[in-house]
């Protein structure tokens, strides 16, 4: 138990270190975030709150696809074989999930700040919104990590990830948009707790599924 815990920490640490050393990828994503938000700013300036919210989640979706897709697509066949000889599949996928969740939380907060600065800030309950953005980024990252592992098996096909992933995340985005809508108004919303509970439940479900299913992908 302790050894697998150490393996997870080491693997997740290795991913973060790799990200920090190969800064071009990180800067690439940051530039992607900035230019996307800038294009939205040029197109709509200060939109109404529900348009603001919808556009923000679309930006989030594409950031996730671009960021998380790399997590498996960048691993070559040889390097996977090397990991295979070192660690178990469960430790490996947990490390990947942790790394992607951390990365997405950071990127979500950065994009939220940029977004609020450029497009105006209609959010009343800021802390709640930031928390939900982190939770949402987490849900998206978890789902796309597993899908990226599947897509990597299908010959490093990035288009495939979008095809598989978008139908699966539409309901998640629907929930997120509904939850975050409540940050724009000062009225008590019934059913909010249930929606947040459902999102958290979904995250736990995705983690459990990844743990069960990843060993089958790993074998080949």
């Amino acid at each position: 138990m302790t050894s697998s815990f150490r393996q997870i920490i080491l693997l997740a640490g290795k991913e973060l270190k790799l990200e920090w050393r190969q800064k071009y990828a990180l800067y690439g994503i940051l530039l992607y975030v900035i230019s996307t938000i800038f294009v939205i700013y040029i197109a709509v300036h200060t939109p109404e709150s529900h348009v603001w919210n919808a556009l923000f989640w679309i930006v989030q979706l594409f950031i996730t696809v671009n960021t998380v897709a790399r997590s498996f697509l960048q691993e070559g066949q040889g390097r996977m074989l090397y990991f295979y000889s070192l660690a178990g599949p469960r430790e490996f996928i947990i490390a990947k999930l942790i790394y992607n969740v951390i990365l997405m939380c950071i990127l979500s907060i950065i994009s939220l700040i940029l977004y609020a600065v450029l497009l105006g800030n209609p959010v009343i309950n800021g802390l709640f919104y930031a928390g939900m953005v982190c939770l949402g980024g987490m849900s998206l990252a978890l789902i796309f990590t597993m899908l990226s592992a599947i897509a990597a098996r299908a010959g490093q096909n990035a288009a495939l990830m979008a095809i598989m992933g978008f139908p699966l995340v539409i309901p998640v985005l629907l929930l997120l948009v509904n939850v975050t809508k409540t940050a724009f108004i000062d009225v008590y919303q019934p059913g909010l707790g249930r929606m947040i509970l459902m999102l958290t439940g979904l995250d736990i479900l995705v983690i459990a599924l990844s743990l069960v299913l990843f060993p089958f992908l790993w074998k080949s």
Binding site: I163, M164, I170, L205, F216, K219, S220
Partner: protein, 261 residues
């Protein structure tokens, strides 16, 4: 059916498809347990029952009395065709999910064939459900697509299984194809099904039984409707199983040919 007769039939089938020259490897390709599983599928009674039930559904569904309700009027007869499509689709997708799990446990191509073909048949029923639903929506709610949460969920499920087939077609190696698509099938089914059941109940919906609308059960699924509705459910489900059975047998022969070409 006696065992001898069964063997004779199998022999006949082999000759028909010119498979006599192929050595019998079914024992290693397909585990024996699987063959026993679908023994009842080779019987005739359920196929006859399916035809009788569907004839009854079509004739009785169009001719027998239905309750006179405002807005719905005679379109309520679509209940026998639209709702039953969803029941069959869910059941067949569940079969696909179960066989994907079985494949992950056994790595037998027999299970993969069933999983894939079940998704295929389920997709057919889903498409029919969408079409019958949108026609019904046109004459009761006013437009073919009303942006109802249940319509959205149906469209999402449809897209998920389309993605499943895109994924399958992106492989050339059949073992890899079977394993990875089984993983996706299990992943997608477990995530999508609870969402499909929960989201329509949380938001307002035009469908009966959601968002404060009374369900069909409460007042208008009266005895007149039940007399046709329950046989219709059974009939369509049997048709789905029959289609699945035919597709699976076809694919089995294709696989045999492929393995011994």
């Amino acid at each position: 059916m006696k065992p001898n007769e069964l063997n004779f039939k199998e022999q006949e089938e082999r000759e028909k498809f010119n498979l006599t020259a192929v050595p019998d490897v079914s024992a290693e390709t397909f585990p024996k347990r699987v063959k026993d599983d679908d023994r009842w599928l080779k019987r005739y009674w359920w196929k006859i029952a399916c035809i009788v039930l569907l004839l009854y559904t079509i004739i009785g569904g169009f001719l027998m009395p239905v309750p006179a309700l405002s807005i719905l009027h005679e379109t309520i007869r679509n209940l026998y065709f639209h709702v039953t499509m969803w029941f069959s689709m869910l059941l067949i997708f569940f079969v696909s999910f179960i066989y994907s799990i079985k494949y992950l446990g056994s790595s037998s191509h027999e299970h993969d064939i069933v999983a894939c073909e079940a998704a295929n048949v389920g997709l057919l029923f889903g498409t029919l459900g969408l079409i019958t639903g949108s026609v019904w929506a046109r004459f009761t709610w006013g437009s073919f697509w009303s942006n109802d949460p249940k319509e959205l969920c149906a469209a999402i499920a449809w897209l998920v299984y389309m993605a499943y087939f895109v994924l399958r077609n992106s492989f050339t190696d059949i073992d890899k194809k079977a394993r990875v698509s089984a993983v996706y099938n299990v992943f997608a089914f477990v995530i999508i099904i609870p969402i499909l059941f929960v989201i329509p109940r949380m938001t307002d919906s035009l469908h009966p039984g959601n968002g404060g609308n009374p369900g069909f059960n409460s007042y208008d699924l009266d005895s007149h409707l039940r007399v046709v509705f329950y046989p219709a459910v059974a009939g369509w489900i049997l048709l789905a199983v029959w289609l699945l059975n035919l597709r699976v047998r076809m694919k089995r022969i294709e696989l045999k040919k492929l393995l011994h070409a």
